[in-house]
């Protein structure tokens, strides 16, 4: 992993002053999750009219947060939560968003803006009023994405999108709110997570969801590609959250894999995920050793970069085989398996390259775009079953993979995001941990970018 020396340098007072004067980027040290630390760096201002704001304020109070309903001059806020779930027309947006704008001056470094709105896909009734409503709901996306680009000091803006009549304090919505507010989402910026009706097999809504440590206690998880980078970080996060973890990697990485497993108390399994019996071997080990399999993280991936004009068959095929075809085959085993829990969670690692494309990565981008298609399609298949599938799409993450990018390209790529720095493997792992948790099935088919709102693919 290459260190981001500029980030360290620019956060010294002298260099920071120089950088400000000559207009160089001034990336902030991001506020990352620490067990036992505060959820946000200050009081939470809940804005907006209507039921959503009330429900969220009530939930946050229940979590023990310092909740304010009105901005006060001179007051610094750790986060601003804006309920936009009742807007009907584009005109309704002006007041809450302008109020939000005025409140931004008091946002603490590492602060959070989280909006909660309704999905334009769920607009009731056709006709002029329905279209106006859909337009207003869609307008939220543009507002939040722009806001995210404007925020400084490591602050981020993200949105929760409620489908249909899902209440603002549905477990999925509150889980997402906690994720966005906490340091776990440090490198997630300008993103939206859809919260759907849980379906018949989802959890009941009798009690209000509250954050807890060890969110994955009692769960059995598999992480592929676990020997290094994002996979190793995911093992750490899942273990911290209390899951039993089977860490999988190829025999060639077995030495590192054993170290990762021993550091956090996981079980190492050497396996090539492209082997025909890979899915069966993994589920069999989980069943025999732990009697269950609840979470499957498809992290293993390879790059064999070449421009299309120079692309070779083995480079194309090996990338597709590892990054996409192996996941397809294993998911087929999981879906048909009785070992895989009824509230099983599949989390795939896609890439922003799969969204925006990337020069020299035709094979990789194709495989990762394929993963996104697989997630969306599988999500429809799983809808209502209690199981879910979601993806994270990492942007520029400081790993061995990105350390191989030429220095200048790497330096430019780092600064092109709203947070003006690369993310850490742990940032992706925290997002995976979020998607792996919860007994509601309300978050399904989502692709959450962990890219600091990069200029490309965000």
């Amino acid at each position: 992993m290459s260190a981001d020396y500029y980030l360290s340098l620019v956060n010294t007072p002298f260099a920071n002053r120089i950088a400000k004067q000559i207009g160089l980027p001034r990336p902030a040290e991001l506020r990352r999750y620490q067990a036992g630390g505060p959820l946000v760096p200050g009081p939470i201002l809940v804005m907006g009219e209507g039921s959503g704001a009330d429900l969220l304020a009530a939930a946050l109070l229940r979590w023990g947060q310092d909740v304010r309903r009105h901005p006060a001059t001179g007051q610094s806020h750790g986060a601003v939560v804006v309920a936009l779930d009742t807007i009907e027309t584009p005109a309704d947006l002006a007041e809450p968003l302008l109020e939000l704008g005025a409140a931004l001056r008091g946002l603490a470094p590492g602060g959070r803006v989280v909006t909660i709105s309704r999905s334009p896909a769920g607009v009731s009734g056709a006709g002029v009023s329905g279209i106006a409503q859909a337009s207003a709901r869609h307008a939220v996306f543009g507002a939040v994405r722009s806001l995210a680009r404007e925020l400084r000091g490591g602050a981020t803006a993200n949105g929760i999108v409620l489908h249909g009549d899902v209440p603002a304090d549905a477990p999925g919505a509150l889980r997402t709110l906690e994720f966005f507010l906490s340091g776990k989402s440090a490198y997630v910026d300008g993103q939206f997570v859809d919260v759907q009706a849980p379906g018949a097999l989802g959890a009941s809504l009798e009690c209000i969801w509250t954050p807890a440590e060890h969110s994955l206690a009692g769960k059995v998880a598999v992480v592929t590609g676990a020997a290094r980078g994002i996979g190793a970080a995911t093992v750490n996060v899942l273990r911290r959250e209390g899951a039993t973890v089977i860490a999988v990697d190829v025999p060639a990485a077995s030495g590192l894999l054993a170290e990762v497993a021993n550091r956090k108390g996981a079980t190492a399994l050497q396996l090539d995920i492209t082997a025909e019996d890979a899915g069966a071997r993994i589920t069999s080990l989980a069943a025999k050793r732990f009697g269950a399999l609840d979470i499957f993280v498809h992290n293993a991936g390879i790059t064999r970069d070449k421009l299309f004009v120079n692309m070779t068959a083995d480079r194309w095929r090996s990338v597709m085989a590892v990054n996409l075809e192996a996941q397809l085959a294993i998911n087929q085993v999981l879906v048909e398996s009785e070992t895989f829990a009824q509230d099983g969670r599949i989390i795939c690692v896609a890439s922003t390259s799969g969204i925006a494309g990337n020069k020299g990565q035709g094979n990789y981008a194709a495989s990762k775009a394929g993963v996104i298609g697989m997630v969306e399609s599988t999500a429809r298949q799983l809808a209502g079953s209690g199981r879910t599938i979601n993806a994270v799409a990492p942007g520029f993450i400081e790993t061995e993979m990105t350390a191989n990018i030429p220095l200048l390209t790497r330096e430019v790529a780092r600064r092109l995001s709203s947070l003006q720095q690369g993310g850490l493997p742990g940032d992706v792992a925290e997002t995976i941990g979020f998607l792996a948790a919860g007994n509601d099935a309300e978050i399904n088919g989502q692709v959450v970018r962990v890219c600091g709102q990069h200029l490309v693919g965000a």
Binding site: P251, A253, G255, L257, A258, N262, G265, A266, A268, R289
Partner: protein, 437 residues
């Protein structure tokens, strides 16, 4: 007169089972592990086992291991490796040494403790480094240093050092020479190989099979559950999957060049000096079941024997020939009752001389006291996943490698028995029976 063991294994003892194993890839001496100590390698082998079975922080009943080439500072080698591993620091350990049979003997010792109910679990194994071998000071220098240490006055110290002679400064490195004959192990085997008229071609063919079998086992992922990469190696450094009989035939003989018959033993059909470590996880059935750990095989029985290679007619590495009939008789079994034979390939000539002896009616009658030949082994069942010629032979690590691989092969087949035979320096040999679950 040989001691006879007529009684069958005591029936009311419980079973000791093999749960799994782990080794680091074996490296050619002076290769990937040139700067790694025995303690480092044994710790790595233990850590790989801990990772495979999720034993982090677990207290194991006992860990037994050893090394043949051992520094005097490593008197507590195994315990030190445990302390450096991910196991609980409350895991006791002891060192054991029986030349190349060290690894197999640790398995037998811990299996017996498990059978007796003294421990529930155990990790057996061994390690050796030909690269990081101890070098001792000469006997003369050693005496001078000890005397100087005892001296009370400066004058007495000076007097002690005054007795030092230039030749005393020459260090003494360990070799593979037998203490009582001065012959190297290879030279000893060359005598036996010639005695049994084992051809160069037969030895090269056995070496080729070893490489082919080991390579094929790697290819089908057999070692994914048995080996954990270390220091950049993920496969044994001495494995030559592409070698051929023609290539092996070009190698010049290295042992037995002063014998009457043409020399047949080459670097290709003799094991190279190697570095590595291997461990085996053993337990009672209850231990394995309570933790949902696999049960690969049962350790059924074992037998050691020794030959008088100094004054007698027997070859240095021929003791397993004597141990085997005792073991088979005690268990009421013949070679036909086995599906796998793991005969340690110290040299191709050792394996082939051993097989020839068992097939020789006269030898079996006159020397082993049998009524006829012990029998022939189906060569298709011999070292099916490769052995020391291809994998290498870090002396004390070989027993752990063989037991874990054989147990895995038995588990893969799902039935049957396996026979282990390991020869050792000092004219010793140990054989053992494993049975599938």
């Amino acid at each position: 007169m040989r001691e006879k063991h007529e009684a069958p294994p005591t029936p009311n003892l419980r079973h000791a089972v093999v749960i799994g194993g782990n080794r680091i890839p074996f490296a050619r001496a002076g290769g990937a592990y040139a700067n790694v100590s025995n303690k480092d390698m044994l710790t790595a082998a233990l850590d790989g086992l801990v990772a495979r079975f999720g034993l982090q922080g677990e207290q194991i009943g006992e860990v037994a291991a050893g090394a043949v080439l051992k520094h005097s500072r490593d008197f507590n080698l195994t315990r030190e490796a445990v302390l450096g591993s991910a196991l609980s620091a409350q895991t006791p350990a002891y060192d054991l040494q029986q030349a190349c049979a060290t690894g197999l003997e640790t398995v037998i010792g811990l299996a017996n403790k498990i059978r007796l109910g003294q421990i529930e679990s155990g990790i057996a194994g061994g390690v050796d480094s030909a690269s990081d071998a101890p070098i001792a000071v000469s006997e003369g220098l050693r005496r001078v240093l000890l005397e100087a240490a005892r001296a009370k006055t400066t004058r007495a110290k000076a007097a002690a050092f005054a007795r030092l002679r230039p030749k005393d400064l020459r260090p003494s490195a360990p070799g593979t020479a037998e203490a009582r004959t001065g012959l190297s192990m290879g030279e000893h085997q060359a005598i036996t190989t010639a005695e049994w008229k084992v051809s160069r071609e037969a030895q090269d063919a056995l070496a080729l099979a070893s490489h082919r079998n080991l390579a094929a086992a790697y290819e089908r992922g057999f070692f994914s559950d048995l080996v954990t990469g270390y220091r950049g190696l993920t496969r044994d450094g001495t494995l030559r999957p592409e070698t051929t009989l023609e290539k092996l035939a070009t190698l010049p003989p290295v042992f037995g060049k002063n014998l009457a018959l043409p020399a047949t033993m080459t670097a290709g059909n003799s094991t190279p000096l190697t570095d590595g470590a291997a461990v085996v996880l053993l337990g009672s059935e209850e231990f394995a079941r309570s933790r949902n750990l696999p049960i690969l095989a049962t350790i059924v029985d074992a037998q050691a024997a020794a030959v008088d290679f100094v004054h007698g007619r027997d070859g240095l590495l021929m003791a397993p020939v004597y141990a085997m009939p005792q073991l088979l008789e005690r268990n009421g079994l013949t070679f036909d009752d086995f599906d796998f034979f793991e005969i340690h390939e110290a040299f191709a000539g050792t394996v082939l001389s051993t097989l020839a002896a068992w097939e020789d009616e006269d030898f079996c009658k006159t020397r082993l006291g049998l009524t006829g030949a012990l029998g022939a082994i189906d060569r298709r069942k011999l070292n099916v996943n490769g052995s020391s010629l291809a994998a290498g032979h870090p002396f004390a690590a070989t027993g752990g490698r063989i037991v874990a691989s054989l147990a895995a092969a038995l588990a893969e087949k799902g039935s049957g028995r396996g026979l282990v035979s390991v020869c050792a320096a000092g004219g010793q040999g140990v054989v053992a029976i494993l049975e599938a679950r």
